[in-house]
Structures are given as C-alpha cells and as structure tokens.
C-alpha cells in the first residue's frame, strides 16, 4: 500500500491513521533478528578479545609461565571440545531438517544439541571440582586466575546457549517452526556456533600453548 505524504488528509488519517505508510522498508534489506544477533555477536567478539588480550599481556609480562600440560587435563578437555563441535554440527543438521519440513529431524538433532551442550557444562564442572579439590584455586597464581576467568565466562555463555536452545526446542515441539519460518532457530544456532568458535580459541590458548 502506498500513501504519499502529500495525500495526507486529516479527516481520514488523523488521529488513528496519521502515520503515512510508505511502500519501502527503511531498515536494512536483511532480517531484523539476524541483523540484531550479528550486532550482538560483534560486541561479544570485542568482549572476548579484551579477555584474550589481557591474558596475552599478563602472560607475556610474567617471568615464568607454567606448561599447561603439567597443570591441566588436556585429554578430557579435548574430549569436551569434541562434544562442543558435535553440538554445532547437530544444530546445523536440525536447521537443515526444518528447512525441508522434517520436524522429526529437527526435534532429534536439536534435542541432541541440548544434551551435548549440557554435557559440555557437566564436564567443565567436573574439571573445576577436581581442580579445586587439589587446591588449584583462582587465588593461587596468574595462571589459575586467568584460567578460571576465561573458561568461567565462556562456561556462562554455554549455559545461556543451552537455555536458549531449550527454549527454542520447546517452541519447536509446539509447532512454532516450519520450512517457511525458521529464523528463531537460526538465531539460536548462530549464538551457539559463536560459543563453539570462542572455545576453539580458548582451548588452544589455555590448554595447549
């Protein structure tokens, strides 16, 4: 519907219809949700860049830095990385399923993603408990304080991601998505992949380097 500004008629348009309607969209030619999530992810990139930058300064400024292989269980965390990568793959599989109107596939893959995400958190909690029981606490030295800061904040992001995936999953169970309407799934998936991407970097920096 097109209404030119010059055709504004107070008798017709005011007061209920006093906003002219244009035949174009003043926003960017991209889904608003996707635009918003990418702006948000841009801020998250800067957030983790600040953390990693601080870690680099502290590490480079320390006369000694322990070999992480001597302090951390790399094997179990490598398995956890495996779990997180699998969860990213299942999220994509779920998204591809809904695009083909395969709702059973969506439920299967999305449910598996939630389980894998929760499994990642569980393994990280197990690691924390094990470390704290052996007196490896954040106040011991810079290695442990930076370790807990970065992995802890990432863990919080994972918890938020699992909750987000679960909320979307409930909506999917209620028939809230179809091959014509799946942007809600995509937004949750983008956040989840970002969390996965950050972990790839943190795992390399903290556990292997």
């Amino acid at each position: 519907m097109t209404t030119a500004i010059t055709s504004y008629d107070p008798a017709v348009d005011a007061p209920e219809h006093h906003h002219p309607v244009y035949d174009y969209d003043s926003g960017p030619p991209v889904d608003r949700g996707k635009f918003a999530i990418w702006v948000f992810l841009g801020t998250e990139i800067m957030f983790f860049t600040g953390l990693i930058g601080t870690y680099i300064v502290l590490r480079a400024g320390s006369p000694e830095w322990p070999n992480p292989a001597h302090r951390l269980a790399v094997g179990i965390t490598a398995f956890n990385t495996f779990v997180l990568i699998c969860s990213s793959a299942t999220v994509v599989a779920g998204l591809f399923a809904v695009q083909k109107d395969d709702m059973a596939g969506l439920r299967k893959w999305w449910g598996l993603s939630i389980l894998l995400g929760a499994g990642f958190v569980g393994i990280q909690v197990y690691e924390y408990v094990h470390l704290i029981q052996h007196n490896m606490t954040p106040n011991q030295d810079l290695f442990w304080s930076t370790f807990y800061l970065m992995t802890g904040l990432h863990g919080l992001h994972v918890i938020v991601g699992v909750i987000w995936l679960a909320v979307v999953y409930v909506k999917a169970l209620r028939g809230g998505f179809s091959s014509k309407n799946w942007v809600g799934l995509e937004l949750a998936g983008l956040y989840w992949h970002f969390v996965d991407l950050v972990w790839v970097l943190l795992f390399t920096l903290i556990y292997l380097m």
Binding site: F35, G42, M46, L58, G61, E64, A89, F96, T204
Partner: protein, 151 residues
C-alpha cells in the same frame, strides 16, 4: 524467513573439524614434550590449527560465506577494533624490558622490594629493579638467582 541458504555437507565438515582437533591436540602433546622451547614452531602450528577450525565454523556453520554485505559488514567492523587493541597492548607484550610494572612479582608492601624471587628471572625484569636480585644474592648466598633466564 523462507529462502533456503546454500547447503553443505554437515557430515564432511564435522569430520574435518574432528580431524583438525585431533591433529591439534596431538601436535600440542608432541610439541609440549619435545620442542616446548621453540615457541614459534609450537605456537605457530597450534594457532594455524585453531585458525582453520575457526574459519570453517565461521564460514559454514555460521554461513558467513553465504551472507550479503550488510551482515558481513556487521562483523568485519570489529577487525579494525581488534587490530587497534593489539597495537595498544603490543608495547607490553613485545618485550618484557618495556613493561611498566612487574606483573608476576609479589612486592613486599613494607619495603617495596620483590618478595618472591623466581630463579633465573633476573634478566626478565626492568634493569632498575635488578639490583633487588643482586641484594637478594648477597643476603641469600646459597640461592641461585643469577641465571640468565630467557624469553
């Protein structure tokens, strides 16, 4: 949203990421045991693995490869910010001699002297603080703190 983005093989990408992760962990294990002091080789290799894993997640799982200029521009604006941040912190990371503060040392609150002496680290601190190590050597003749250390 109703348009279908280009689809790729999730299975192939999944396997590729797992292979890269396994290779990275293996490289890290070997490197930490056999060439831990060759940082360029060890860290360069590990970061290369991390880069490719991140690249595939970003380009395919987050399907940035298929996005238009607006979404791409939304993300790439962070690149100059990241570069700016790195430039700002570079003076502190490029050389320990240029550090404004000795981050890892515990200073005695009463004397301001270094309370914790780490063996072999004398040459890693600012020159103006090195006399503290020398003083420590006089008062603790048995301690070996004059090692050259090394970056």
């Amino acid at each position: 949203m109703s348009e279908h983005p280009p689809q790729f093989s999730v299975k192939k990408l999944w396997i590729l990421l797992l292979v890269l992760t396994a290779a990275e962990v293996g490289y890290g294990e070997i490197g930490n045991r056999h060439f831990y002091d060759q940082k360029l080789l060890l860290w360069g290799g590990l970061l290369t693995f991390a880069y490719f894993k991140g690249y595939y997640i970003f380009q395919y799982f987050m399907h940035m490869k298929y996005e238009g200029a607006i979404v791409k521009g939304n993300v790439w604006f962070t690149v100059p910010l990241v570069v700016y941040l790195m430039i700002m912190i570079w003076p502190d990371t490029a050389s320990n001699d240029k550090l404004n503060y000795e981050i890892a040392h515990q200073l005695d609150p009463m004397t301001g002297e270094i309370a914790t002496i780490i063996e072999g680290s004398r040459n890693l601190v600012n020159e103006e603080f090195r006399y503290l190590y020398d003083d420590y050597a006089v008062t603790h003749p048995g301690a070996e703190i004059h090692g050259e250390g090394g970056h």
